[in-house]
Every structure is written in structure tokens, then in C-alpha cells.
Amino acid sequence: MSISMSISVWVSALLTLAIFSFLIKDNPLYKIAEHIFVGASAGYWFVFNFHNVLLPDLFKPLGTEFTSKWFLLIPLGLGLLMLMKMSRQYGWLARFPLAFTVGIGAGEGITSIIKSDIISQLSAVTFEMPLIMLTENMGKMQINVFNSFSNIVYFLAVVTGLLYFFFSAEHKGMVGKTARIGIWFLMISFGASFGFTVMARISLLINRLQFLIEDFLGIVI
């Protein structure tokens, strides 16, 4: 074991330990790390936005090629209107840029969602996962019982799941029973997603602990 002599490693390690200390309970060390984190990251993104958005997309073009890029005065104006938010009297002017942003989001959202989350999924459920699945057997396409069964399960999960989301029908009788099967499928999927994720979370921890053990404490395995 030979503890690191690098100030960078020490800073990283102390901050790492400070965050971990939150697991025991809230304490001054965590509070310091938290405030460094909030302050430094706010500054980081501020600088980042300045150098990657405002400078290249707004100020530089306006400064150097104004004649062809004069229309950038519009977003500049909208941006300045946004700043009006800080005034009590003219705060309402900030609604203009806000309305623009929301409008763009809504318009862009509606088309791409219909395409990728409805139409493509519709195609996947019906055409890509047919209830009768054929595979080649001795040169001829024949029904593959296991794959067909799997696809039927998939199909049932989709349909009963969708039925669960019906708001204008009381969950009673036939609808209630089917929706309940829908809930079961949802629960299976939640459990599976959870289980699937556990590994990701552990991986992150392994990474941090490797840093502490190998880089900071200098223990070699």
C-alpha cells in the first residue's frame, strides 16, 4: 500500500468519501461536498453554454457576418425578453420566448411520438412478432410452436397492458379481469427492469471503489 501523493487524487478521493458519508447520515462533510457540487456545476454549465451556444451560435455570427445572419436578432430579442423575468413590471414579456419554446416542443413532439412510439410499435407488435411464427424445417416453412407461444405472450402483454390504461371504463367485469392481467404483466416487467438495472448500479460502485482502492490507497491487486 502506498497512498497517493497527488493533490488531484486527494481532492477526488475526499469528495468521494464525503458523498459516501451521506449513507451514514447527513453531516458537515456531505454538506460541503454538496455545496461545492451545486456551485461548481452551475458555473460549469454556465460557462459551457456561453462557449458552446451563445458564442458560436449567436454572438460570433452576429459580430462577423451580420449582413447574412441579421435574423439572429430575433433569438437575441427573445433571449433578452426572457431576462425581463427579473423585473416585476415587465415579467410577462418572458412569456413570448417561453411560448415559442413550448410550441416548438409540442410540434416536434407530436410527430416524432406518433411515428416512433405508436406507428413503429404497432408494426413491431403485428408484423415483426406474428402470432404464428414460421421457421424453416427441412426446407419448408412450418409453425414454430415455442416462438409462436412467446409472441402470443408478448401480444397479450401489449393488449392487456393497454386495456389497463382505459380511463373511461370502470375496472369491472370483463374489462376489470383483463386489466388485472395487464397489471400482472406490468409488474413482471417492473420486476425484470429492476433486476436488470441492479447490475448497472453495482458497476458504478465498483468503479468508484476501484478508484479509492487502487488510485488513492495504492493497493494493487
Binding site: L23, N52, K115, S116, S203, L204, I206, V220
Partner: protein, 343 residues
């Protein structure tokens, strides 16, 4: 006892998880890794690429997900350069390109002892951590026909290499002979691209038009030979995204594959993987690596046994067992309680 377990302080669980992960890291032994169909599909798609193909590697993640995605990135780059697949790199996330730079030039890439010797003789700088001495950086050098370990000031003869030391080079680039990866011919870094979905739409229309200049020399990308014959995204042989959230694999599938039909593969964090399964089913996604297990399987499939993914699988297994044991305890407590209530 029952009551203690029922109201178990969550910090006890934390302690078990911590110990369960640290012990195997310090103990350092490996579980064998087997591949899964999801990973196989990625390997299959990669094997279909001919030497000289161009793959667009997009780093759409930030250091927060490095633990899972960086091993995939390293293994992917290693595979590409070994098989003469040319790489254009970019990132939809601001910190992505930095992570690719790290993978190329500064991340520790572990190698075996034999490989270390061979690379050193080829003139690459090979680093070593002899057992029990980390802390300061040490590397190997050949002086007067002998291999020596060079610390900052002193130098020490090794003669034969240590069996139990860790050998590594810095960055994927150092795994190959000088000149194997020519910038502009085999590799091009296009840097951070602002705008996620919009960038991809731009790429669909025109790759040089969207990427504009490269990150190293700020020259137009079309001035590099690697871009010969590449006009729109269709001309790229595969897009490989390392994705950890919004502005990533979903956009590549919807806009990239959806609009141009380009083959899209991806490495994702395990947490987001289930969300993209429908795209695998609908074949909009050619293959997917999910989480550290995906990385480990990919490393095994492409022949990189020293990878972080494979090494990480052991603490991973321990932690899973601990969580599973806790779930079992929780259920036993619950059942015992129910039983005694019924009595």
C-alpha cells in the same frame, strides 16, 4: 430477532453491499463470462463489416455512466482498429468526445505480460504496477538490452518481467504500432455536436455538412481521406452509439435508422436497456450491449480478456448474491410473521 430483521436499519444493508464489493476487488479472481443473444447480435453486425468500412462512433454519455460504457468503448475501438475498420468519432453529449479522447490516449488499457513485452519492443510506452507498489507511475524501458522499470528518479533492473504485476498502456492507440492509426485516414474526431436529434437529421442529409470541421485541426472534415465517398448517413457502414440517456440511442434509432436506414448498434446502461428492447424486436436496432455484463460479454467475444468489464463481473456477482439473500431474508421474515399471526 424477528423484530430486529423486520426493522433492519438500512445502513446494515449498505455495509453488506460495501463489503461484498470490496472483498472480490481486493481478492481479485474471475468468473467465466458467457455471451448472450443481445451481445451476439452486436458481434455479428460488426463481423459483417469489411476492412476499410467506416463506423461512426458517437459518445452520448458523460462521466456519470463511464463505469458501464467506457469498457464498451475501449473494446469497440480496439476491435475496430484490429480489424481495419475506420472510425469517425463524435458526441451528442458535451463531455462525450473527451471520453473518446481518453479512450484513445489516456485510459489505462490492461494487457498481458507477453503483450507488454512485445509492445515494449515495438517502442510503445508500457506502464507497470508491480505488486504492492502503486502510487507513483512506473514504466518499462529497454536499456542496454535489459528491461528496466523506470520510476521518476531511480531505475531498477527487472530482467524477466514480473508475473504478478499489472501491465498497461495508456489509450487504445498505444496497443498498435506507430502509424497504424493515421489521423484522417483511419480515425477522425469530429467532436461535440450540439443539438441531439437535429444533428442526426443533419447527418441524414449530409455528413460533412453536419460535422463541419474536425476537433483536432478545425479543418473541414471532407478534406480528410476517411470521408471519401461519404455523403449522407447512408454511406456510413454502421453507427455505434454509447448512450446513457436523452440525446442518444433513441434519437439514433428514430432519426438515423428511421430516416436513412443506416445500421445502428448501441451500448447502453443496464438501466435503460429494457426501454430499447422493442427497437431490437422491430429490428430498428441491429444490436445492443447492456450494462457492464454487455461489456464483459463483448470483451469475451472480441478476445479482450483483460477488460474492465470481465474484471467487474466478480464483485458484480457478489453484490447480486447479497441483494438476493436480503430479499430472501425479507420474505422469510414476512412468512414467519404471517404464520405466527395465523396461529
Amino acid at each position: 430477532m424477528l423484530n430486529y430483521l423486520k426493522t433492519l436499519d438500512r445502513r446494515i444493508i449498505y455495509l453488506f453491499v460495501l463489503v461484498g464489493v470490496i472483498l472480490p476487488i481486493v481478492g481479485g479472481f474471475l468468473f467465466p463470462v458467457q455471451s448472450s443473444p443481445m451481445t451476439d447480435s452486436v458481434v455479428k453486425a460488426l463481423k459483417e463489416l469489411e476492412p476499410g468500412s467506416v463506423i461512426l462512433v458517437s459518445a452520448d454519455f458523460d462521466p456519470g455512466s463511464q463505469a458501464e460504457l467506457q469498457p464498451m468503448l475501449l473494446a469497440l475501438l480496439k476491435y475496430c482498429f484490429e480489424n481495419e475498420i475506420n472510425v469517425v468519432s463524435m458526441g451528442l453529449w458535451p463531455m462525450g468526445p473527451t471520453l473518446i479522447d481518453n479512450a484513445m490516449d489516456s485510459d489505462k488499457v490492461r494487457i498481458s505480460k507477453d503483450r507488454a513485452e512485445q509492445l515494449m519492443l515495438e517502442g510503445r510506452k508500457v506502464y507497470i504496477i508491480p505488486k504492492g507498489e502503486a502510487g507513483t507511475e512506473q514504466y518499462l524501458e529497454e536499456r542496454d538490452g535489459k528491461i528496466v522499470v523506470v520510476k521518476e528518479t531511480e531505475r531498477e533492473e527487472v530482467g524477466d518481467l514480473f508475473d504478478d504485476a499489472i501491465y498497461y498502456v495508456k489509450g487504445i492507440r498505444s496497443l498498435f504500432p506507430e502509424g497504424h492509426i493515421k489521423y484522417g485516414e483511419n480515425y477522425l474526431a469530429a467532436g461535440y455536436q450540439v443539438g441531439a436529434g437535429v444533428v442526426i437529421l443533419d447527418l441524414v442529409a449530409s455528413v460533412p455538412g453536419a460535422l463541419k470541421t474536425d476537433a483536432l485541426n478545425s479543418k473541414p472534415v471532407e478534406s480528410y481521406p476517411i470521408m471519401n465517398g461519404i455523403d449522407t448517413l447512408k454511406d456510413i457502414d454502421m453507427v455505434f452509439t454509447l448512450s446513457s440517456g436523452s440525446g442518444g440511442i433513441k434519437e439514433w434509432v428514430i432519426y438515423g435508422n428511421g430516416r436513412s436506414g443506416v445500421k445502428v448498434c448501441g451500448g447502453v446502461t443496464a438501466v435503460s436497456a429494457p426501454e430499447f428492447l422493442p427497437y431490437l424486436v422491430s429490428r430498428q436496432l441491429a444490436g445492443m450491449l447492456a450494462g457492464l455484463a454487455g461489456a464483459a460479454e463483448f470483451e469475451a467475444a472480441t478476445g479482450y480478456e483483460m477488460g474492465e468489464g470481465i474484471r467487474g463481473m466478480t464483485p458484480q456477482s457478489f453484490a447480486h448474491i447479497i441483494i438476493i439473500l436480503f430479499i430472501i431474508i425479507g420474505n422469510l421474515v414476512f412468512l414467519v410473521e404471517k404464520y405466527s399471526e395465523n396461529k
